[in-house]
Symmetry: C2
Subunit: 324 residues, 2 copies
């Protein structure tokens, strides 16, 4: 971003957690907006946003944040978006684009849509990116690079407004795709919501066993379990809202998952090694596909680093005259 004009004049960010603060950093780094105004519910977050210099102005109310903004992005948990829409409705500038970053889109359309006045462009969005951390300090400008941002404009949305928001996300490094909100919710139910539910479940299971101590679970987690704990460390409020808001699609995917798990369980019980081998061979191909299209690192073990070998001399196996 050097010589081209900003895509938007003033970006209002409602909520500045992992996603909101990453948008602020990336939009500024790319010169995608001329100015950023941020609001956050808690005074502590507002203070931290000011300290980090993430916005040109930090204001107390969402209504104040959106005044004069031509792009408003609501970055709060899905369950709080309807209330925010109500708060900002009367203060939106005519012609402004209103968007969000929620992991569920049907509920966002249902809960935000009715509050928004005619004359603003409502284009829900979901950048499929994140980490297990939350809060304004957790964000970074590169979070969206190479990831997908899904737009779910309602029928009749202004194509120019949709394209302008798409250009904004591309400026932040994202690939952009459009689909209906209902299809988004089905796709994300399998690629994100069900994996989180399963991870939350198994981490809970491991923590409750009488026969295996928590200390053992932690120590021997490198056998696979630790991968699940990262996802199960995601923000509890955000994920509570996701499951409440995308209940139907999640329950549908859960039904299919349970059938498949029952089938593999039966293969184990019956000692059907061929069925297990065939299944395990098939799933290996999916991983290759994800790495091939650049959606994960080709490095083994996610590229986790390994400390060097120890340098102390080995203890000697046999006692000898020069032993300690």
């Amino acid at each position: 971003m050097t010589d081209s004009a900003p895509l938007f004049n003033r970006l209002a960010l409602i909520g500045v957690g992992l996603i909101g603060s990453s948008i602020a950093r990336a939009a500024r780094a790319q010169g995608a907006v001329r100015e950023i105004v941020a609001s956050a519910r808690s005074a502590a977050t507002r203070q931290r946003v000011a300290e980090l210099g993430l916005a040109d102005q930090v204001v107390e109310t969402n209504a104040a944040a959106v005044a004069g903004a031509d792009l408003v992005i609501v970055c709060v948990p899905v369950g709080a978006c309807g209330e925010v829409a109500k708060e900002i409705a009367l203060h939106l500038q005519a012609g402004a684009t209103v968007s969000d970053v929620g992991s569920v889109k049907g509920a966002i359309v249902r809960e935000m849509g009715p509050h928004l006045p005619a004359g603003v462009h409502f284009v829900p969005a979901h950048p499929v990116a994140g980490t297990e951390n939350s809060g304004p300090d957790a964000g970074f400008a590169e979070l969206f690079v190479g990831r997908w941002c899904i737009l779910t404009p309602p029928e009749g949305a202004d194509p120019a407004a949709v394209e302008r928001l798409a250009a904004f996300w591309r400026a932040l490094g994202a690939n952009v795709e459009q689909m209906p909100a209902a299809h988004h919710d089905l796709v994300l139910a399998i690629t994100s919501h069900l994996p989180h539910l399963i991870a939350y479940t198994i981490v809970g299971t491991a923590d409750e066993l009488g026969e295996v101590t928590r200390s053992e679970v932690l120590k021997f987690s490198a056998g696979g379990f630790r991968d699940f704990t990262r996802i199960a460390a995601s923000d509890p409020t955000m994920w509570r809202d996701v499951f409440l808001a995308n209940k139907d699609a999640v329950l549908e995917m859960l039904g299919t998952f349970n059938e498949d798990l029952a089938q593999l369980t039966r293969a184990i019980r019956r000692g059907d090694g061929q069925a297990l081998f065939d299944h395990f061979t098939r799933t290996r191909a999916i991983r290759r596909g994800i790495v091939q299209i650049g959606q994960d690192s080709p490095a083994p073990d996610f590229g986790r680093t390994h400390p060097d070998l120890p340098v102390e001399p080995l203890p000697r196996p046999y006692a000898g005259p020069d032993d300690d």
Copy 2:
């Protein structure tokens, strides 16, 4: 490893995949053994091991490999260990230590133990470390650093032989713990086997949906799914054998997991946000515990790297005289 004597004179490695080749590299780097002799079932693997210089000698038969070795480590899938024990039994040197690296220990004791002659020390072992890759090229010397290696010596094992093997694993950078084989199998069922089964299941589920295409699953996998695909890309033969060999413990853990999943499913169905929030808050603490004891990286997203922001100038939102 500089001035101290090697712990063993000749290490025989039976099988040189990810684990075997990592042992070879680490043992040599640390001077833990004076000499390495390797055997592998396939001619292609033997040739590759020779090309990589992983062993001082590469031989065709397991019997030839163990001749004159004071440490024998069997690094083949669990289901093949019994056969290997039978092949090497008559060729083992008196006083040699025989070990393995299998992810299941009860079955190893049952299937290898009866073949091994009196006068050798049988000390089953399981280094809890690995990646999703397999084969001699996948190994690296640092794989075991900071990870745990669990020894499950049978009752009556010679304490000096056990300690010497423990010293070998510590030289490779591992922490060493001892426990009964049956307890190992229960601990690993939850920290490794069940996570793999769940990951294999969900990746299969995602690949079979009529409503969501494979291309969509791959593109939007950064929402959580991609983490599961790494584990579900693990070696199919190894994992078939694990589930067949540790059936009882895996089925027991599966039972508990299914109960817990049913409980969370009910909370979603009923819209019980508080139950979801409480569960998700509890699991976050487990992640912190794992990071605190050094069993995973504190870096967000496993330390995955993010490419830089794009440097091309942004497309301008409004058409103008100097637009393309």
